[in-house]
Structure formats: structure tokens, C-alpha cells
């Protein structure tokens, strides 16, 4: 098989795995921002918290990796409701700046807390055997962990799509993103809806954080380091749009991977260049409302 095809397939595969991570972690942020217009810079902190819960569950309590992921998502999702009820709620009507400051303050506190309990050195998790090796697809073998990530991502997309487009709650969320006042006036409880999506979104972020440990390692800085990526995915995709978030995650994931394969020195340059170009042409993102 010609060399460039192998490279292209590798880029596509790794890019797809990366895109799934971006999608899983960012989708909750996109929906909550679309609903309330709340700039949540602490989203990365929830992802980091999820990662550390997974570390504790697997290393200290000896629970398997996959059940640990699920438990961590539920725990972080539940805890996030407390933050939403007591802190976020007070600033829904405030301007961008105050929301940015509150949530960045929370992110700093989360980083410090994680450093205190886990130390600044990156953590890893023990993986089950079936996630450690490679999968041979005939012409080339791929790391099975990334294959697992892609499969999980596709399943989650299907579930979220069904929930968003085919259920009653999904219809209410879409209505509230489109026009919050109108939705409220026909009797949709947007507040409750928001708490619900916030919990699910933070749970998904925690899942993403758990999945990221094997990809990038987990250190307290995760909360801020990758936050920029999540925000970029949300901004490029358009607030509150499932389709947009998926498209943005795919475009950015694959572009970034391609950039790192083909022009290693340029590093993260590509992802930002794509962001700037997209936002200059479409300020509200791919599927955002102008």
C-alpha cells in the first residue's frame, strides 16, 4: 500500500479518536452555554475531577477501569449540581466578565485541591488487558485503546442524538436553546432543564477526563490546559448545537492530528488557525444562531 495512504489512514484514525474525546468532553458545555449563555471556564475542572476519581477508584479501591469511568461520571455529575444550585445560579443574569471570573476562580481552587491530594506529577491508570494491545486490521495495526474510544464515542453520539432529537426532554432543550422566553411562556421549566443538562454535561466531561488519562496523562493543570480546546470546540461548533459540536470536534481533531503528523514543529498552531478562520467567517460557529 502506498506510503501516503497509510499516513492518511493513521491521521484519520488518531484524529477520529481525538475528536471523540473532544466531543464527549465538550458537548455538555455547548448545551449549557446555549441554554443559559453562561461562560463556564470550570468545565475543565469537572473533567479533571472525573479523571482523579477514576484514578482513586482503580488504584486505591481496585475497581475495573470501565466501571470506574461510569461511577466517576455519575459522582461528578451529582456534585456539579451542588455548584450549579449554589454558585452558578446567582450569576445567570450577570455579564460575561463576572461569569468568567467566578468560574476561573473555581478552576484555580480545583487545581490547588487536586495538587494538594494527588501531587503535581502526572498520573496513569491500570487498563484491562483487552485495552492494552493493538488491533490488527490486516494492513496496519491500531492501538485498541483508541479503537475503544472511537466505538464509545459513536455509541454516545447515537444515544445523545436519540435523546436530543427523539425524546420529550430533548425537544424541550432544543426549544429553550432556540428561544428561552418563549419556551418558558409555554410552560417549560427551563431552570430544571438547565440543572439536568448541567449534571449530564459535567458527567460527560468527567467521562472525558477519565478517558484522557491514557491519552495525555492526568495532572492538575488539565483543568486549564485542555479547557481552551473545549471552549474552541464549543465556539466553532455553535452554542447549543449537537451537530455543530460533533462537526467542530471532527474538524479540529483531524486537523490537529494532521498538523502534528505532517509538520511536527508547528505543534498546536493548526487548531488555532482553523478556529480563527472559522470564527472570522462565521462568528457564531458552524451551527450557531447569529
Amino acid at each position: 500500500m502506498p506510503h501516503f495512504v497509510i499516513i492518511a489512514v493513521s491521521i484519520l484514525f488518531d484524529g477520529l479518536a481525538y475528536a471523540m474525546f473532544l466531543f464527549i468532553t465538550s458537548v455538555g458545555l455547548s448545551v449549557t452555554m446555549g441554554l443559559m449563555g453562561f461562560v463556564n471556564l470550570a468545565h475543565g475542572a469537572f473533567a479533571m475531577a472525573g479523571g482523579y476519581v477514576v484514578v482513586t477508584l482503580t488504584r486505591t479501591l481496585g475497581i475495573g477501569f470501565v466501571p470506574a469511568l461510569a461511577i466517576s461520571a455519575v459522582v461528578v455529575g451529582a456534585v456539579s449540581v451542588v455548584f450549579e444550585r449554589f454558585l452558578y445560579r446567582r450569576l445567570y443574569k450577570s455579564n460575561d466578565l463576572e461569569q468568567v471570573l467566578l468560574t476561573i476562580g473555581l478552576a484555580f481552587m480545583a487545581i490547588a485541591t487536586a495538587t494538594y491530594f494527588y501531587g503535581p506529577i502526572p498520573k496513569s491508570v491500570p487498563l484491562p488487558e483487552w485495552l492494552q494491545g493493538d488491533i490488527n486490521l490486516g494492513f496496519r495495526s491500531f492501538p485498541s485503546y483508541r479503537a475503544f474510544l472511537i466505538v464509545l464515542g459513536v455509541v454516545l453520539i447515537a444515544v445523545l442524538w436519540y435523546g436530543f432529537e427523539r425524546t420529550n426532554i430533548g425537544a424541550k432543550i432544543r426549544a429553550a436553546v432556540d428561544n428561552r422566553r418563549m419556551a418558558e411562556s409555554v410552560g417549560i421549566n427551563v431552570d430544571l432543564l438547565f440543572t439536568l443538562t448541567f449534571a449530564v454535561g459535567s458527567g460527560l466531561a468527567a467521562l472525558g477526563g477519565g478517558l484522557a488519562i491514557q491519552l495525555f496523562g492526568l495532572s492538575p493543570n488539565f483543568a486549564v490546559l485542555y479547557l481552551v480546546l473545549f471552549l474552541i470546540v464549543v465556539a466553532v461548533g455553535g452554542l447549543g448545537s449537537l451537530k455543530g459540536t460533533l462537526l467542530a470536534a471532527l474538524v479540529l481533531g483531524i486537523f490537529d492530528t494532521a498538523g502534528k503528523y505532517l509538520l511536527a514543529d508547528a505543534g498546536g498552531f493548526f487548531i488555532y488557525a482553523v478556529t480563527v478562520v472559522v470564527l472570522l467567517i462565521k462568528p457564531a460557529g458552524f451551527y450557531g444562531r447569529e
Binding site: D96, E98, I104, A112
Partner: protein, 342 residues
């Protein structure tokens, strides 16, 4: 006829009242000498902490430049470190690659280059608001950092440009080990920049900026050239941040790509918020309190310090949205009310 005759003197009177109001605000109050007196006193009281002192002065200037953009014009940016970095690298690269080691002309060069970059990016970016603007400003700073990293053969990359040597200030004052020259030099530059900023803030242009911050639709409606004004103030703020960056390189005699870090943008914003936005002296209070706390607490435990700054932000947003100076003002009002009662 009668009605129009009556309105003409009215309008004139209104204009005079407005001019009188602006002039009155622009007048110096005795309390305004206080920060400068303290700064001079610090020079004599802590002669061995002048290196730290000059860093504080530089951060005050950096926060002041953000105050113009964020506090007065209400532009929320997460990439203000870009201009600080450009100023720092203009001077750094000038000294390392071109042998341009004269400090004062270096400051001017840094101001011009940063201001030009501020004009370019501002002209493109200031049409956007909210999250889009946040992401675009953030991406701009990170792209500059990545570009510097890409050409690390030229920029020195994350290892930086160490061991830069600059000529004595004005050809007279050479740098000493204790940083006395640095402190006075930075303080004088800050004073010049401050009076420039103060002049802008109390001018009609400054009033227009406040108007844009408070109600951009109404400013459009009364025919104010909003975009042009925003780009102008962004350019000025960028230039001042560039001067702060240039001073940073000159006083430390080295610079690395970490000046473009998101941390740097966030830090200056925290300082400004801590002191109070849109009130000139907020930058002084915020930067000094932040730098001194950081100096003391981060020696004790960096983790503790980071937690503290996070907590400070959360409490600040919830209970003191106008910063430390706002709290002081409230306390002053409360006291005077208390006193006038009996």
C-alpha cells in the same frame, strides 16, 4: 419660532455644564498624590527589595493598560498577554539580534510595534462579542506563542533570550545589582504612562468609551462611531502593555515565551478585578496586593496560594463586584452616614 429660540441657549448651557463636569473630574485631588508618595517611600524603606519593586511597578502598568480596554471600554479579552509579549520580544530581539540596546528608544519601538499589532487584531476582532471574542483573543496570544516556538532558532523558544545587556538609561544611569536604577526607571515611565491614561479617561473620548461599555446600542443610536473608538482604545491599550513588556525584558535582562501564557493574561485580569475596574487606581491597588500576597504566600506554599487566589475571585464576584477600592468606597459611605446621624 419661540420654541427654537428657547432651545438654543439651553443647548449652550448644557454643553457648558458638560464641559464643566469633565473639567471638574479631571482636576487633581490631593489624595491622588498618595500612591506616588508611597512608591517613593518604598524606595527608602526597602532598598534591598527593589528588584521585586520594579516587577510590581511593571505589573501596575500592565494592569492599567487592561483597565483602559476592559474597565473603561468593557472589552472582555483573554489574550492581553499577547501585547505584553510583543513588547517584551521587540526589545529582546532588538538587543539580541540587532544590537539595539538603547533602552528609551527600545520602549518607543515596543510601544509602536504592539500598538500596530493591537490595531490590526482589534480591527478584525472587535466586531465580535461574548464567547467568540474571548476565544479569538485567546487564540491570538497562543498563536503568537506557537509561532515563536516554531521559529525557536530566532526567538530562543522556551529557553528564552538570556543574558541581554542594555545600555545605561539616558546614557547616565547604569544598572546596579540591587535594581535601584530599574525601580526609578520603571516608576518614571509608569508616571508618564499614567498621566497619559488619565488624560484619555477624563476626555470626551473616555466618556464615549464608558458609554459604549454601559449601553452599546444607545451609543450606536446617537451616532457614535463605536467600532472606531473601540479599535482606538484597543490600540492604545496594546501600546501601553507593550511598554510594560519592554520594561519587563529590560529589567530582567531576559525573556522567554512564557510571557504569552494564558496564565499571564489571567493574572493581570485578576489583579485589575481585585483592585477594581474602570477607576484608574484599581490597577495600583490590585497589582500591589496581588504581587505582595503572591510573594509571601507562594513561598509558604504555592498550592495554598493558588487556592487562595481562586477563593478570592469567587468571593470577589459574589460580594465585592467593584473590587477592593469599591469596598473601601462603600465603607467610607457607611462611615459618613454613621457619623452624620447623631
Amino acid at each position: 419660532m419661540a420654541a427654537s429660540e428657547r432651545t438654543i441657549p439651553d443647548r449652550k448651557a448644557t454643553r457648558e455644564r458638560a464641559a464643566e463636569y469633565l473639567l471638574r473630574r479631571h482636576r487633581f485631588r490631593p489624595a491622588e498624590a498618595l500612591p506616588w508618595l508611597i512608591a517613593i517611600a518604598v524606595y527608602f524603606v526597602f532598598p534591598d527589595r527593589m528588584t521585586f519593586g520594579s516587577q510590581v511597578v511593571i505589573m501596575v502598568m500592565f494592569a492599567l493598560s487592561l483597565d483602559l480596554i476592559l474597565g473603561y471600554a468593557g472589552i472582555v479579552t483573554l489574550g492581553h498577554a499577547a501585547f505584553f509579549g510583543i513588547g517584551a520580544y521587540t526589545v529582546g530581539l532588538g538587543a539580541a539580534r540587532l544590537g539595539w540596546t538603547e533602552p528609551i528608544s527600545g520602549l518607543f519601538a515596543a510601544a509602536i510595534v504592539s500598538a500596530f499589532f493591537g490595531f490590526l487584531t482589534g480591527w478584525f476582532l472587535l466586531r465580535y462579542r461574548g464567547l467568540t471574542l474571548l476565544m479569538l483573543t485567546l487564540a491570538t496570544a497562543i498563536m503568537l506563542q506557537e509561532a515563536g516556538n516554531l521559529r525557536s532558532d530566532f526567538s530562543g523558544g522556551y529557553d528564552g533570550l538570556p543574558g541581554l545587556v542594555f545600555k545605561p538609561v539616558l546614557g547616565l544611569f547604569d544598572y546596579d545589582l540591587y535594581g535601584h536604577t530599574n525601580y526609578i526607571y520603571a516608576l518614571v515611565v509608569l508616571a508618564v504612562v499614567f498621566f497619559f491614561v488619565r488624560r484619555i479617561v477624563y476626555s470626551p473620548f473616555g466618556q464615549a468609551l464608558t458609554g459604549i461599555r454601559e449601553n452599546v446600542r444607545r451609543m450606536h443610536a446617537i451616532g457614535s462611531p463605536v467600532h472606531r473608538r473601540l479599535v482606538t482604545v484597543y490600540t492604545i491599550g496594546a501600546g501601553i502593555a507593550g511598554i510594560a513588556g519592554a520594561l519587563f525584558t529590560q529589567t530582567n535582562a531576559y525573556v522567554t515565551l512564557t510571557v504569552f501564557d494564558f496564565d499571564n493574561s489571567a493574572k493581570v485580569m485578576v489583579m485589575l478585578i481585585l483592585g477594581g475596574t474602570g477607576r484608574l487606581y484599581g490597577a495600583f491597588v490590585g497589582a500591589v496586593v496581588y504581587m505582595v500576597l503572591e510573594d509571601k504566600l507562594s513561598k509558604l506554599s504555592p498550592t495554598f496560594w493558588q487556592f487562595g487566589i481562586g477563593l478570592l475571585l469567587v468571593l470577589g464576584v459574589l460580594f465585592a463586584p467593584r473590587g477592593l477600592l469599591g469596598l473601601l468606597e462603600n465603607a467610607g459611605k457607611y462611615l459618613s452616614k454613621f457619623r452624620s446621624k447623631p
